[in-house]
């Protein structure tokens, strides 16, 4: 799709959407949002970019294959699930740092789980879309 408006817009929308997706990720524990939605918004940012500039260019700005995000995300999530077992608690129990960190707020194992989900969702969605669109 060659459209000057879309191309210009998507150049500015990409960072804004990524920032918004990160915002959704961080507020997800108590408010609507979270890793899955954040990941979807982030991947939509890249999808929009690939609509405007073509899939090859999107892959170029990503540098790494989106597939490599999946093991990283899964690893972070899985570790945050298992981590409470070291403290003798059942898996998936929320462990929290005592002091809140400015801007982000309370940090706990749930946040790491969400970050893992976020990465996995981006990886999966982009892998599938690139597979479908590159075959043509």
């Amino acid at each position: 799709m060659k459209s000057a408006i879309l191309q210009t817009a998507s150049r500015y929308l990409l960072p804004i959407l990524l920032l918004f997706s990160f915002f959704l990720l961080l507020r997800g524990h108590y408010y609507p949002g979270g890793g899955f939605v954040g990941g979807l918004v982030a991947s939509i940012a890249f999808v929009l970019h690939s609509f405007a500039h073509g899939t090859e260019n999107t892959m170029k700005i990503l540098r790494y294959k989106p597939l490599s995000l999946i093991p990283i995300g899964l690893g972070i999530s899985a570790l945050s699930v298992v981590a409470p077992m070291i403290a003798g608690l059942p898996p998936m129990t929320g462990l929290w740092f005592e002091e809140p960190i400015p801007v982000i707020g309370m940090i706990g194992s749930a946040l790491f789980f969400d970050i893992g989900v976020y990465l996995v969702v981006i990886g999966v969605v982009l892998t599938i879309l690139f597979t479908i669109s590159l075959n043509d």
């Binding site: 093991p71 899964l74 690893g75 899985a78 077992m85 003798g88 059942p90 898996p91 998936m92």
Partner: protein, 500 residues
Amino acid sequence: MIDNHILAPVFVHLFAAIVQLIFWRKTITQRFISVGGSLIGLLVAMRLFSKVHQEGILTMNASDWDAPFGIVFVADLLSVTLVVLTSIAAFAVSIFSSVGLSRQRMLYGYFPIFHFLIMGLHGAFLTGDIFNLYVYFEVIIISSFVLMTLGGRKAQLEGAVKYMAMNILASTFFLTGIGILYGITGTLNMADLSFKIKDVQNQTLVGITSCFFIIGFGIKSAVFPLYYWLPSSYHTPPSAVAATFGGLLTKVGIYAMLRVFSLIFIPDDFICTLLMVLAVLTILTGAFGALIKTNIRRLFSYLIVCHIGFMMGGIAMFSKIALMGAVFYLIHDIMVKTNMFLIAGVIRQLRGTMDMEKLGGLYKEYPKISLLIALVLFSLVGIPPLSGFWPKIFLFQEAFTQHQYFFVGVLIFGSFITLFVIAKMWSKVFWKDVPENVEIEDKFASMELYRKIMMVLPVGILAAATLYIGLNAESIVKISEQIATQLIDTRPYVEAVLGN
């Protein structure tokens, strides 16, 4: 008893899969991780089994939420027995697939997906929450779709379409059932459901809901009117994949049925009759299908269907001895059916085909391997003292006690057809000479020694397990008896989950 480590078998396979994803495209590393991970998984599973065997039912409340509110994982004897059997099968298959699979398929991520599949199986056996069971079912089917299409031959993709459509449909039925169940009881915990369901005013609705579960699990375990996807897809993927599917996937359906019908819906006369009719028709159609097939794997696919009927019959009679028979048969079936497809893979390597008409002369050329295979075939048929024989005694006994003479007849018929088909296969593949004008492509003879060993070893491991089940039947009977007692009298299970 609360034990926070009962999910260890799940985590072992999860981490094995993640590490393998990191070593994407490094197939040699992946092979080592796969075999090592499966071995660790087996050891962990055995430790869990011995712990449950000694200390009774173990539970774990995920993220420390108390039982009916959070997701609970329960390791009772049925679950851990199946976890151990799955681990043994997974160990054998991962050894086999490290030499029996083309590099092309490994590059597309066979090993990580295989471990996700095993992880899903372990999770499905261990969970005590019906929606969580659904989630693990989905993990299993998504992984199995990928395994099924890996390689992308035409026949494979065709099989995958049928497999995909039917299995998604099954999940939809299962999910609908769960939705209605939640609507009428307000809980998803299986132990909690077991007594809340009795207080429901509208018992007709409960009956209809149980039919949703019968259809959902029936599609997954390939029961009579819903089994057509199985014979039209299981002969297409590589043998290592077919072994995992044939040995384990249909049995998850049977496990779920055992669990749901013992805990939540205690079968009344209508459900028992329905299950019995389905069981009889499953045995008959499976047996007739097996009679006419000449391709080994198609034949085995129909035998899976046929033998699912035996277990369904055990569930349908729903008494202690019948369930003992069903559980024992389940134990025997997982080991043997996995092995059958591995054997089909070995035969393919020896001859380059799996069509009985084009095969022959294997006994003359490879007497030792043939004898090993014969042992497995005899166990499948159920020649005493091998493993297939013992569970049938219990099924016969209970069928006579309950005057289900028709089922007795069908059981005998099914066993007889199995014997006939296997005898036919034995004579055509092993005894008969190689038919003329058939070219043999023997990949096996030219292999390095370690590859030969790796290919036959898993068949040997599973054969040893089968032999152990057959010759040490007394202890297996004891375990199945305990499992059947737990299934009939669910109070210990409910108490372990909910306290008093």
